[in-house]
């Protein structure tokens, strides 16, 4: 189907002798990461419910985390881990603030439908 999938398949096939930890090639992680990111993006762009959108954002962040960790594992250093910790911290803050905002808006408008939030217009 795709060249890199074919490569991955060959890598899996040929990794029987290597250690199990390294048996999953980088591309596989990345494919999952991209898929997760796409799912999250679709949620952010398409859903009308603010809570769902916030959750979708979390998915996107975690997709990125996965990519970082995959690279960290690939290169054998800790850089990806460091960034991931930061992302998790930021994501926690974001979730807190995001939920507070949604709550505030709900109190104000009795709705969390994003289509009704067009104060940026004009």
């Amino acid at each position: 189907m795709l060249p890199f999938l074919a490569e991955a398949a060959t890598a899996v096939a040929s990794s029987t002798t290597s250690t199990p930890v390294h048996s999953i090639p980088l591309q596989w992680f990345l494919i999952v990461s991209v898929a997760l990111f796409a799912v999250g993006s679709a949620g952010v762009l398409a859903r009308r419910n603010a809570l769902t959108v916030l959750m979708s954002v979390e998915i996107m962040l975690n997709a990125v985390n996965l990519a970082f960790l995959a690279f960290a594992r690939e290169w054998g250093n800790m850089h990806g881990h460091v960034v991931t910790f930061f992302v998790i911290a930021v994501a926690a803050a974001e979730a807190a603030i995001g939920l507070a905002l949604v709550l505030g808006i709900f109190r104000h408008k009795k709705s969390i439908n994003l289509d009704e939030m067009n104060a940026l217009k004009n």
């Binding site: 952010v44 762009l45 994003l114 067009n118």
Partner: protein, 676 residues
């Protein structure tokens, strides 16, 4: 008499220059003050005049010009003590300097400009004195004197400029002052328009002046000085050695300079502004539009005499236009009924005589007539000013008559000036006009014969002059009064007016004796004085013009011109010197009378071929180009395009964050796709 300049000319020949000998310059500090004093006067009266007392304004206005006259006289006396061909000079500063061209802002007093400077400051002083009475009631008193002084400054700069560029500064300055003073009573629309007409007609000439100067610059060697080896004369030498192409260039330059002179000196076809210029206060008409500024064109041509005589064709054009103008304007003056209009057309006619003189190579005669004309025409204009002032601004001679007893001094001076302008012996105009007519009929410029056309038109014009001047005189001062008797009872003269009149009257009577014809006495004082400038022209000195000294011919010319002068005077006397009920009724319905009264319909003709098409073009530019294209397409069109684009784009800003994010994501994805 020509001995001195003969040897000098030989020296000039060695240098290979065609023109008067170039002498040495001597520095003269007072000369700068001659020019600066009127400027200072103009500045003080113009800026502080409103707060100053009238007497102070008068002192500054008149005093600055009087002092300039004294300084000028002192410098002229110094000049007289120098060898022929030498001149006084004030080296100012370098105005601009490219490596090929060096123009300095410098002044120069030579024999030619000395005559002009004395006439201008002398007559100018008298007219300033006259103005103190004439303008006394006017609220713009200080403004008037400021303008007059500014005019004197510009005129003196024009006369004393050492090169063409400085002359041109003065040339433009006098044009500006003329405009300001014609429209002095600018609240009257007609007068304001007359000022504009003068300015626009002059612009045509000024443009020609500039183009001629630029062409000349190509052929000079580093300057446009009148007297220096690299100046104007070097261009003439250069072009005369350049074959037929050079002759053509010379002709073009001369004709362009002549067009400039036509504008300033009111010759056909640009004379139309001068009669209208009479809208200005009468002292202005006397100073600017009779005595000084309008003769600037003649002075300029005399100044450029090496250039003009180098092109016989140009000389013929000048002579023919001058003669035609002299006759043309004289015939119009025959039937005019406004006292100042008669004098205005008379001025056009008399300047035609001067131009004619230039055209036949009689430069001395041109300057001579310029000088005598300044005396008698200034006197006539001031006389008319005295009459107008006495009659509460009545200018129609049909409403005058019998003023002889009421205005005795005006009457005498006016009469003397009429005699002078008509060429009655032995008043000033007699000598100058006869010299011009005699030269027109006998001079032979190398390559051509005597200019009979100019001579004949000159003669007829002289006859007309005598008639219309005495018609004017008798209608104004002779017979009985025809206007409002109440005005007549209050008519009187003023000392500040009669003093300048008397002065000018005396000059008009005896001013001609500086140029007694050879016939009577050999020493033509003015000719001797001007020989450093014009002496080289004579064939006896190796110049291009053959001057006749035929006594019999001169006697015939004098006899004929005196005869027609006296005849014109007597006819006018018999027709108009009578009481109101016996005045001849002009055949107003006759075709020729109507043509003359309407000034040959020249104004209407110009209106048809210049003014209306120009207005048409202006309307087109306004309606189509300005409103349609510039306003419609460029200004409003661009605004409309921006508006439409904005209206389209604002739909994108819908406030929906998700839509924005969609754009961002799609855009980023696309960018990444291409980057990969």
């Amino acid at each position: 008499m020509f001995l001195a300049s003969e040897t000098a000319h030989a020296a000039a020949h060695v240098k290979g220059l065609l023109g008067p000998t170039i002498g040495e310059g001597h520095s003269a500090d007072l000369l700068a003050w001659v020019v600066l004093l009127p400027l200072i006067g103009a500045f003080i009266n113009g800026v502080f005049g409103k707060k100053l007392a009238r007497s102070t304004v008068t002192t500054i206005g008149v005093g600055s010009v009087l002092l300039a006259f004294c300084f000028a006289a002192y410098e002229v006396i110094r000049l007289a003590g120098l060898p022929d061909g030498d001149y006084l000079v004030v080296n100012g500063w370098t105005w601009f300097d490219t490596h090929e061209l060096n123009i300095s802002f410098s002044l120069m007093l030579d024999h030619l400009s000395s005559v002009m400077v004395l006439v201008v400051t002398g007559v100018g002083t008298l007219i300033h004195v006259f103005s103190t009475a004439y303008m006394r009631e006017d609220e713009g008193y200080h403004k008037f004197f400021s303008y007059l002084n500014l005019f004197m400054f510009s005129m003196l700069l024009l006369i004393l400029g050492k090169n063409l560029v400085v002359l041109f500064v003065g040339w433009e300055g006098v044009g500006l002052c003329s405009y300001l003073l014609i429209g002095f009573w600018y609240k009257d629309m007609e007068k304001a328009i007359a000022g504009q007409k003068a300015f626009i007609a002059n612009r045509v000439g000024d443009l020609a002046f500039l183009i001629a100067t630029f062409i000349l610059l190509f052929y000079t060697h580093g300057s446009v000085d009148f007297v220096s080896e690299g100046g104007v004369q070097s261009a003439v030498t250069h072009l005369q050695g350049a074959g037929s192409g050079g002759d053509m260039t010379l002709l073009v330059i001369c004709v362009l300079f002549f067009v400039a002179a036509c504008g300033k000196s009111a010759q056909i076809p640009l004379y139309v502004w001068l009669p209208d210029a009479m809208a200005g206060p009468t002292p202005v008409s006397a100073l600017i539009h009779a005595a000084t500024m309008v003769t600037a064109g003649v002075y300029m041509m005399a100044r450029m005499n090496p250039l003009f005589v180098a092109s016989p064709t140009a000389m013929t054009i000048v002579a023919v236009v001058g003669g035609t103008t002299a006759l043309f304007a004289a015939t119009i003056a025959l039937v005019q009924n406004d006292i100042k209009k008669v004098l205005a057309y008379s001025t056009v006619s008399q300047i035609g005589f001067m131009v004619l003189a230039v055209g036949v190579g009689n430069f001395t005669g041109a300057i001579f007539h310029l000088m005598t004309h300044a005396f008698f025409k200034a006197c006539l204009f001031l006389g008319s000013g005295s009459v107008i002032h006495a009659l509460h601004h009545e200018q129609d001679i049909r409403q005058m008559g019998g003023l002889r007893k009421k205005l005795p001094i005006t009457n005498i001076t006016f009469f003397v000036s009429c005699l002078a302008i008509s060429g009655i012996p032995f008043f000033a105009g007699f000598f100058s006009k006869d010299e011009i007519l005699f030269n027109a009929l006998t001079n032979e410029i190398s390559g051509g014969g005597p200019n009979f056309y100019a001579g004949i038109t000159g003669f007829i014009a002289a006859a007309c002059t005598a008639f219309y001047m005495f018609r004017l005189y008798y209608l104004t001062f002779g017979g009985t009064y025809r206007g409002d008797p109440h005005v007549y009872d209050h008519a009187h003269e003023e000392t500040a007016m009669t003093f300048p009149l008397a002065f000018l009257g005396v000059l008009a009577a005896v001013g001609g004796f500086v140029g007694i014809p050879h016939l009577i006495h050999d020493a033509h004082l003015l000719e001797a004085w001007l020989s450093p400038n014009f002496g080289w022209l004579a064939a006896t000195n190796g110049g291009p013009i053959h001057y006749s000294h035929d006594m019999v011919a001169e006697l015939i010319v004098i006899g004929a011109s005196v005869a027609i002068g006296i005849a014109g005077m007597l006819i006018a006397r018999s027709m108009y010197n009578r009481s109101a009920d016996r005045l001849p009724v002009a055949p107003v319905d006759a075709g020729w009378h109507r043509v003359l009264t309407n000034k040959y319909y020249v104004d209407e003709f110009y209106d048809l071929i210049f003014v209306r098409p120009l207005r048409g073009i202006a309307q087109f530019s306004y309606k189509v180009i300005d409103v349609g294209i510039i306003d419609g397409i460029f200004v409003r069109g661009s605004a409309m395009v921006v508006g439409l684009v904005g209206a389209g784009l604002r739909k994108l800003q819908n406030g929906d964050v998700q839509a924005y994010v969609t754009v961002v994501v799609v855009g980023l994805a696309t960018a990444l796709l291409f980057a990969a």
